[in-house]
Symmetry: C3
């Protein structure tokens, strides 16, 4: 099953890749590696989630935010390979940051929404290494930021 078919069967319309909020680029290709800048839960109408998990943001909303970050990562991959997502040969790593209260320990549960989407969309090629950590603050007070390293063929 192609990545395009999987996206269709999942009912996913890739978002427009978000422009960086400062003087950098959304991705860099070096050899057969793409490094993708940290993506935040930007939706079609702006930031879809803001606040700290365990305070204003519920764990369910944090999971939705991580899913949206992952969609934005895939949108950047799509831009990097000029729309041919079959060229993504492996998602190497996701780096997940969860803006949360002290003592919150469910970062894996939150970032799992992004991990699940990678496997749903890319199959075994989407199986990645990962770090998931908490933080006391993120840009524009978003609850989740995720960056990625991806291999292309």
């Amino acid at each position: 099953m192609s990545v395009a078919d999987r996206l269709t069967s999942l009912g996913i319309d890739l978002p427009k890749p978000a422009a960086p909020v400062a003087n950098y680029v959304p991705f860099v290709i070096s050899g057969n590696i793409i490094s993708i800048s940290g993506q935040i839960p930007m939706g079609p109408d702006g930031l879809a989630f803001q606040g700290k998990v365990g305070q204003e943001v519920s764990i369910d909303d944090a999971i939705r935010a991580a899913h949206l970050c992952a969609l934005n990562l895939i949108a950047q991959m799509n831009a990097a390979v000029d729309g041919d997502l079959e060229r993504i040969s492996r998602v190497i790593k996701l780096g997940g940051f969860v803006n949360c209260v002290d003592g919150f320990g469910d970062q894996p549960k939150v970032i799992n929404a992004a991990s699940d989407l990678m496997v749903d969309v890319f199959g075994d090629k989407g199986r990645h290494s990962r770090s998931a950590v908490g933080t006391n603050a993120l840009p524009m007070n978003v609850p989740v930021e995720i960056d990625a390293l991806v291999e292309i063929s």
Copy 2:
């Protein structure tokens, strides 16, 4: 001196590599690079350390936790190279996160336990670049999480 000999002379029995706590894999090999997922202080009987450095966790226990994270990193490397640790040609980078109180500034001292173990086990090939930062929260309230990039020949 081989890596196996060094492990023996250090009295180290590698732990069983820990299974990921969510939908991802413990390592990905891309070309001659292994990306290893963030390892936590998981011991034979479960989490060996929990809590925040500067609060429930002393700096000495944080150092022990970092050592255990590093043992788990080496266990994952060992699994990635099918038990032939001589194939590890360089530890490229450790990324260390220390769950600590505000104002704590001894992250280098904590993560040094992991850095020391890499050099003890791999010799000059174990000399790596590193970032060490604090965080207000980590998965399952562990005090330390460390991920790694490693080169294989």
Copy 3:
């Protein structure tokens, strides 16, 4: 315009690359990638900035601190390529950590000082991917730490 010329026209004298504060190395070269350890705002007379952004450290000082971290990154690149900065073919990624109060959301504005310097010094080769996150604590209570991945030709 060469990188050396750009440095001159920007009035930049590269600092001496800072020694690591623990048992690791300032950079590792693997294939055509340099991984540079997290750099802190170390100046000629020691740490130029200490404290938390939003508390003792103003956003303007945080921006200066990020600029200094970036200078230190370039000094490490310079050491890695034996003084021939023309060999830097691309800055792949900056990873920026800002020690800040809860709710601070201007990490991009702070880390932008580092991003700007990369583009000023390396031109289009300096355009990089990036993550910028907050943290509640950094080594020696510095306000900013930045690491990097760089491609050499």
